[in-house]
């Protein structure tokens, strides 16, 4: 076994309830790695034999027409599909070399390390403060001053602090859609994830709020590994370092965004991003 992987495995062994087998294919640059990974909903083969790595600290956009399996793939990275009846996976999907679908994996810890932001902002009907503090409190008892610091830091990272610092006790439901989405990002950041999954995070937002989220993605890149599913080609081109094109469950092409959007190797990729189909 690769020495780096062995170290990583030890460092993050708390994710496993018992010692797992690390993925020998995981490269040191990739924090998430899929290898021959498939997802089925009953008999429907939604993601087909996908091999793909998310590079640490980089933004990867996942694009493709509706029903191509991109959201399914994204949701598998923090096992959001576990409760979907008939959902089954084969192959390997690993976080730092550790099999995400290992039966002994601690899913709560996985979701702490892999945060998620959804298409529609979904704040809890609680105060702004409590929304951000919620996940942190779940981790265990924490001093008030420490929690205050985490809430402030998370709201600052989500570029929301200046707008809400004087009304932290106000109900989050009263915020605008764009603010709610940034609050959800702050809530995800508060538990110090390493990977942030974003499933069409701007599709319900106006252009100004979209621009703020895109700026935020650029600011968070480097510190966090981000995977974003989007139907907006320009957004994928603007915010990501790498782009993966999915079609009918297959990963058709994966590469640097600047290459995918100027000179894709695959005709289907070219046809999709130029709007000839999909």
């Amino acid at each position: 076994m690769n020495a780096t992987l062995e170290i990583e495995k030890k460092k993050h062994s708390n994710i496993m309830k018992e010692s797992p087998e690390a993925n020998p294919k995981s490269g040191p640059g990739n924090i998430v790695e899929a290898s021959g990974f498939s997802v089925y909903y009953g008999k429907f083969h939604a993601v087909k034999n996908v091999s793909l790595g998310l590079e640490r600290g980089k933004v990867t956009a996942i694009i493709g027409p509706s029903g191509c399996g991109k959201s399914t793939f994204l949701r598998c990275i923090n096992r959001m599909n576990d409760l979907v009846e008939g959902c089954k996976t084969t192959g390997l999907l690993a976080l730092e070399g550790i099999d995400i679908y290992h039966p002994r994996l601690d899913v709560v810890e996985l979701r702490r390390r892999v945060g998620m932001v959804f298409q529609r902002p979904n704040p809890f009907p609680k105060s702004i403060y409590d929304n951000v503090a919620y996940g942190v409190r779940l981790k265990g008892a924490i001093r008030k001053s420490e929690l205050d610091d985490i809430v402030e830091m998370s709201l600052r990272r989500a570029a929301l602090w200046d707008e809400v610092k004087d009304r932290l006790n106000a109900n989050a439901i009263g915020m605008s859609g764009g603010q709610q989405q940034r609050l959800c990002i702050a809530r995800a950041l508060a538990i110090s994830p390493e990977v942030l999954l974003m499933d069409e995070p701007c599709s319900a937002l106006d252009p100004k709020s979209t621009a703020r989220i895109e700026d935020l993605i650029a600011e968070l890149a480097g510190e966090y590994t981000i995977a974003i599913v989007t139907h907006n080609m320009q957004q994928a081109a603007r915010v990501s370092d790498f782009t993966a094109f999915f079609y009918e469950g297959n990963l058709v092409e994966f590469g640097e965004t600047k290459i995918i959007f100027t000179n894709p190797k695959n005709k289907a990729t070219n046809d999709y991003i130029t709007g000839r189909f999909g």
């Binding site: 080609m233 320009q234 081109a237 995918i260 959007f261 100027t262 000179n263 894709p264 990729t269 070219n270 991003i273 130029t274 709007g275 000839r276």
Partner: protein, 229 residues
């Protein structure tokens, strides 16, 4: 977005084709005016250049509109960028044709001298390069484009020879210096047209494979040729 963009790209292709046809026709006419020393034909060329300038501006505006409204990517983006560049190069070629036409009236009124370059080789080769570069663009044919680049050396060599002949001609026949200088300007304009055709060919290679070959054309030609062998 899809059908709107398709329609606009088709329109752009027709538009650049109009520019190309007008420029090619004007270059042919300028060469004819030079061979026949025809001031009427030369005048036609100079007037037609104003229409070419207008077409060039229209085409550029169409490109800018597509970029602003559709934000094209991949092959569509490369197509629009290539049209933008080729449009500019064709307009310069049009200017060169006009320059040649302007020399005709000077040459006619000066003491006649033997043409200091091989007019047949130089004009036919330059016109052929222009035609081929336009064909290569319309057919997206990078092998045709490479052929254009190879031909440039012939025109360059003829221009160099002209320079020597003009220097010697002026030394031996100083009374005809103006006529020699005008022929040298014609030769330079033809050589410039050939250079611009080479630029068009390079743009076509970019359009086809997203490769900027401007500064290492030799290597690129070898690589592309070997792929087709």
């Amino acid at each position: 977005m899809n059908s709107h963009l398709r329609k606009d790209l088709e329109k752009l292709k027709t538009q650049i084709l109009k520019v190309a046809i007008s420029v090619e026709e004007n270059v042919r006419k300028s060469v004819k005016a030079l061979r026949e020393l025809s001031p009427a034909l030369a005048c036609e060329v100079i007037n037609a250049d104003y229409d070419i300038d207008k077409l060039e501006v229209d085409t550029e505006e169409e490109c800018l509109k597509i970029l602003a409204l559709h934000q094209p990517v991949a092959s569509d983006l490369r197509f629009v960028i290539t049209v933008l560049k080729i449009n500019n190069e064709l307009e310069h070629i049009g200017d060169m044709a006009s320059n040649i036409a302007k020399r005709v009236s000077f040459i006619r009124t000066e003491n006649p001298v033997p043409i200091p370059f091989d007019i047949e080789t130089m004009t036919s080769r330059t016109v052929y390069m222009l035609k081929t570069s336009i064909d290569a663009f319309l057919q997206s044919d990078e092998l045709l484009a490479i052929g254009v680049c190879s031909d440039d050396a012939i025109v360059d060599e003829e221009n160099r020879r002209c320079y020597g002949n003009v220097a010697e001609g002026i030394k031996n026949n100083p009374d005809s210096a103006m006529c020699y200088i005008n022929y040298l300007l014609v030769s330079k304009a033809l050589e410039r047209i050939a250079d611009l055709c080479t630029n068009i060919a390079e743009d076509i290679i970019y359009m086809k494979r997203s490769l900027i070959v401007r500064h290492n054309m030799k290597d690129a030609i070898e690589r592309i040729k070997s792929e087709y062998e």
